[in-house]
């Protein structure tokens, strides 16, 4: 063997090893992503199966989805989940944002300890938080209230709501706080130099700049509340069923295509919410405004359709009609937001435009479906 071949073979060997390395890393990635997504893909596919089998696909049908739409127990639990989710989202978002502002702008004693306390609900096991709330309500709060008022309170949707707000505040806090960390305080000073008082500065400068973080936090809070099983299970009362509790009772019983259909609907919903949340945190007002517009359009669509059937059917109670007309109040905001949104849209790149339209449609669909579930 000459020295020439020896020299030549060394790089080849090295190259082949590099290639093997690349191949192995690619294979590992494919394996992990396959493991993570294949079961979900199978779940979705078999939700469209036309027999009860979840192993052999025999034909396409939407039968299981139609069954869901006619399932009263499911609709009632979905309604409960939505009502809880909406109340929790509003409360946790307002409280979490206030806390983030306080922690970012003020220095006070025990600040570090309180900051750690705000992270604690995220790290301690959910079951510990669940049992602590169970004991708190049943062994402490309710007996205490009973001695005060002679009225024995029980757990139910209200205790679920209180508990969800408690575990959602930290998540909103973290997201808004991250947004505040990048905040340019000179903008506020500029506003005040131009004569704005503190409240006006907050409303016209601080709040709009924080909005992406706040909306991101709100969507996160909503998703977490909608998905929570364990804390809900410990704080529910008799007959207060939410969506995850209902799914859990089904899943423990066995595997059926109805659960697949329900799961698919839930997956689509929560992935949509997360994509909205990520887009909102991206920070472009185009997207947050798109979501607002979509939400208002969804409510408007529901109200108009509903009013027409109400008035056409003749059984229109005045209260009902007035309440539905109340839903049209945000339309005034739409009047101002829509032109600005359209001019922003024209300036955006194609991907941004696509995302903005997606945000609008998703928010609109969500608002429309929620209105149907909540207000029928």
């Amino acid at each position: 063997m000459t020295t020439e071949t020896l020299v030549a073979s060394a790089p080849t060997r090295a190259a082949s090893r590099v290639r093997l390395g690349r191949w192995a890393f690619g294979a590992n990635a494919a394996l992990v992503f396959g493991f993570l997504y294949l079961p979900v893909a199978i779940l979705i596919i078999f939700s469209f199966n036309d027999t009860r089998s979840v192993a052999v696909f025999t034909g396409f049908s939407t039968e299981w989805y139609l069954k869901l739409a006619a399932n009263d127990e499911l609709l009632a639990s979905a309604r409960n989940s939505l009502v809880i989710g909406l109340i929790v989202t509003v409360a946790a978002t307002v409280i979490g944002t206030m806390t983030a502002l306080a922690m970012d702008r003020h220095r006070f004693r025990l600040r570090t300890a309180f900051d750690a306390n705000l992270y604690l609900p995220i790290v301690i096991p959910e079951i510990v938080m669940g049992i602590s709330l169970l004991l708190f309500f049943n062994q402490a709060l309710f007996p205490f209230l009973e001695t005060l008022t002679r009225y024995r309170a029980t757990t139910g949707l209200h205790t679920i709501t209180i508990s969800h707000i408690a575990f959602d505040i930290p998540f909103v806090y973290i997201i808004v706080r991250a947004r505040l960390a990048d905040f340019d305080r000179t903008l506020e000073e500029a506003a005040q130099d131009l004569g704005a008082d503190e409240w006006l500065t907050f409303r016209r400068v601080t709040l709009p700049l924080l909005m992406p973080g706040i909306i991101g936090g709100a969507l996160m809070a909503f998703t977490l509340s909608l998905d929570d099983y364990l804390i809900t299970a410990f704080t529910k009362g008799v007959g207060s069923q939410t969506m995850p509790l209902y799914i859990y009772s089904l899943v423990r019983r066995g595997v059926t295509p109805e659960i697949n259909a329900l799961s698919t609907a839930l997956l689509v919903g929560s992935i949509g919410l997360v994509l909205l949340s990520l887009t909102a945190q991206g920070g472009v007002p185009l997207f947050t405004r798109a979501m607002g517009i979509g939400g208002v359009l969804g409510l408007m669509g529901y109200t108009l359709r509903n009013l027409i059937t109400l008035l056409g059917g003749g059984e229109a109670a005045l209260g009902g009609v007035l309440f539905r007309l109340l839903l049209l109040v945000p339309v005034a905001w739409l009047w101002r937001a829509l032109p600005r949104w359209r001019s922003d849209l024209q300036e955006a790149n194609p991907a941004g435009r696509l995302l903005a339209v997606f945000s609008l449609l998703a928010a609109g669909g969500a608002a429309y479906i929620s209105a149907i579930l909540l207000l029928v």
Partner: protein
């Protein structure tokens, strides 16, 4: 700052802080104090506590029974196995993602993150369906004639471990990715120029420098896994006991609230030690979640 302005700022701070602090103190901290209290009192007849309370250490002493220590050790063992698997597959995946073109990188990272925000129950159900007796894996194996009847892939420790890896693998990837992404790969070339082979360069250069991310990933996976409830309950079908299912039983059929409280506090202590260790050794990657 003038005196009035400072006082105004105090009022503002109070107003902003009061709702959040009040809510958490009342509905998070106070309930934990009550758990602490109940864990030190004797159990009453109907499962709740004796009133007036009789203080005792019995609940903690009971915990040192071989049966309960065994369940505790079993949870820790399962959590170690799960975390090890997550790190073993997660590290190369994080490396793979860090080497992609930025456009692909963001898409792949999104793929890692989506499972975080999808319903955990639904994901666990999806896996249960694949592993079931009439599920895809058994159907394929039987169809191929490899096995005569369905394998028992569900309701055992194997199923729980697979389920936990499935649920928590994304937790491991992100902190390691944050570390690897910051790593300067020129150092690997330098090591190779100085005569180290690939394995040596990895072990002596890349691994030590990305260790904070690995530690963060370890804690972020281990902590939720050791206290997991849904996965052992659904995938174990009541046959695999972990700490959380044991706690749940004390508040359900066993009706022993003081004992359940004591176990909960032990679990919380274990988790807090892990989290504090991570803040101490995990470097800046702690903020990735």
């Amino acid at each position: 700052m003038t005196e009035t302005a400072r006082r105004g700022s105090r009022w503002q701070l109070g107003g902003l802080l009061a709702p959040g602090a009040g809510w958490l103190l009342l509905f998070f901290n106070l309930p934990l104090v009550i758990v602490l209290f109940i864990s030190f009192v004797e159990r009453g007849r109907a499962g709740s506590i004796k009133w007036p309370p009789v203080f005792t250490l019995e609940n903690y002493i009971d915990f040192f029974d071989a049966l309960y220590l065994g369940i505790f050790a079993n949870s820790v063992r399962i959590a170690f196995i799960v975390t090890a698997i997550c790190l073993l597959f997660g590290y190369p995946l994080a490396y793979f993602i860090s080497q992609r073109h930025p456009r692909w990188r963001d898409a792949l990272l999104l793929l890692v993150m989506i499972p975080f925000w999808t319903n955990f129950l639904v994901r666990t159900y999806a896996l249960k369906q694949v592993l079931g007796a009439e599920g895809l894996i058994n159907s394929l194996l039987i169809g191929a004639g490899l096995i005569p009847g369905p394998l028992d892939l569900l309701f055992n420790e194997f199923a729980v471990i697979v389920g936990l890896v499935y649920g928590y693998l994304p937790f491991a990837v992100l902190p390691m990715y944050a570390s690897i992404e910051k790593f300067d790969f020129a150092l690997m070339e330098a090591a190779s120029d100085l005569g180290a082979n690939q394995a040596r360069a990895f072990l002596r250069v890349m691994l030590p420098m990305t260790l904070p991310g690995v530690i963060a990933a370890f804690v972020l996976t281990f902590v939720p896994v050791v206290g997991a409830f849904i996965t052992p309950d659904i995938m174990g079908g009541g046959k695999v006991e972990m700490i959380a299912t044991l706690i749940n039983r004390q508040f359900g059929v066993a009706r022993n609230w003081p004992f359940g409280s004591a176990i909960s506090l032990v679990l919380m202590l274990l988790v807090l030690i892990g989290v504090i260790a991570q803040f101490r050794f995990g470097g800046e990657e702690r903020r990735t979640l």
